[in-house]
């Protein structure tokens, strides 16, 4: 079911079809997924539409954004950049002395 939802939102009816289960049974499972905060259920007209929580899909991929990590690792790179700039300033000064 999660596999199906990873391709996009689906109605409860659409989710029932591939399984040899009653809609009532499927609804019960959807309720578990909603409670586990894996799926979001919304009403569209008379139909219930299920969507996978965005965080769930992303966490599966190899990279999840994390603010601390963003800054820590940006600072690592900034350190390299600043050191390079320092060298350039020194080189400029040397050239200045020569000229």
């Amino acid at each position: 079911m999660i596999e199906r939802l990873s391709h996009g939102p689906a109605s409860v009816r659409g989710l029932t079809e591939p399984f040899a289960l009653s809609q009532q049974m499927i609804s019960k499972h959807i309720a578990y997924l909603v409670r586990a905060r894996i799926v979001i259920k919304t009403k569209r007209g008379r139909e219930s539409v299920c969507t996978l929580r965005p965080g769930t899909i992303k966490t599966v991929s190899d990279w999840a954004f994390n603010y601390r990590r963003f800054w820590e690792e940006s600072f690592d790179k900034l350190d390299v950049v600043v050191n390079q700039m320092k060298m350039e300033v020194r080189d400029d000064r040397k050239h200045g002395e020569r000229n």
């Binding site: 603010y67 990590r69 900034l78 950049v81 700039m85």
Partner: protein, 169 residues
């Protein structure tokens, strides 16, 4: 006072001491030519960086993940004290710089209402500079480990759900 409780939330703070004078660190932080070289986590590149560094101006930076996925960040400048302090607000944006909900990207962002990002540049003497970044989000360390735990919990829950589904068959 209820207002004070907001300020009492422990903020995410990242500090670093650079072996370089303050003017240099400031330049690396405020010139897009250099920002492009350090913006983003390890393994990420920054192919685009547009910067209008002035109060009321904006930075728009693209970061490209190792898998090619691109994310755009915007930074609004609210206060600039040259060589000392920048008060700004960073958020996820579309390539045009319009703010987007981080949840759309699967990013959890618990921002503190009405708070800004503050970057401080301190001259430590001996040609060293201390850079402090105070984010407008609560202390992440707890959340960091929590994130992993959260995912484990989801996996556990999926396992339970799958077991139940198997039983129902």
């Amino acid at each position: 006072m209820t207002e004070n409780t907001v300020n009492e939330i422990e903020r995410m703070v990242v500090t670093r001491v650079f072996d370089a004078p303050r003017e240099l660190v400031w330049k690396a932080w405020t010139d897009p030519k250099y920002v492009m070289q350090w913006w983003g986590p390890k393994g990420f590149t920054s192919p685009v960086c547009k910067m209008d560094f002035r109060v009321g101006g904006k930075l728009l930076c693209c970061m490209r993940a190792p898998d090619g996925q691109e994310f755009w960040n915007a930074v609004e400048y609210h206060e600039i004290v040259p060589h000392e302090k920048i008060v700004s607000l960073m958020y996820f944006a579309d390539p045009e710089g319009n703010r987007i909900d981080p949840a759309q990207l699967g990013v959890e962002h618990e921002a503190i209402d009405g708070a800004y990002d503050v970057t401080l540049f301190e001259d430590l003497g001996n040609g060293q500079t201390k850079l402090t970044f105070i984010g407008n989000e609560p202390m992440e360390s707890a959340k960091n480990s929590g994130q992993m735990e959260g995912w484990n919990q989801i996996l556990d829950k999926i396992a339970v759900v799958l077991a139940e589904m198997a039983q129902a068959k």
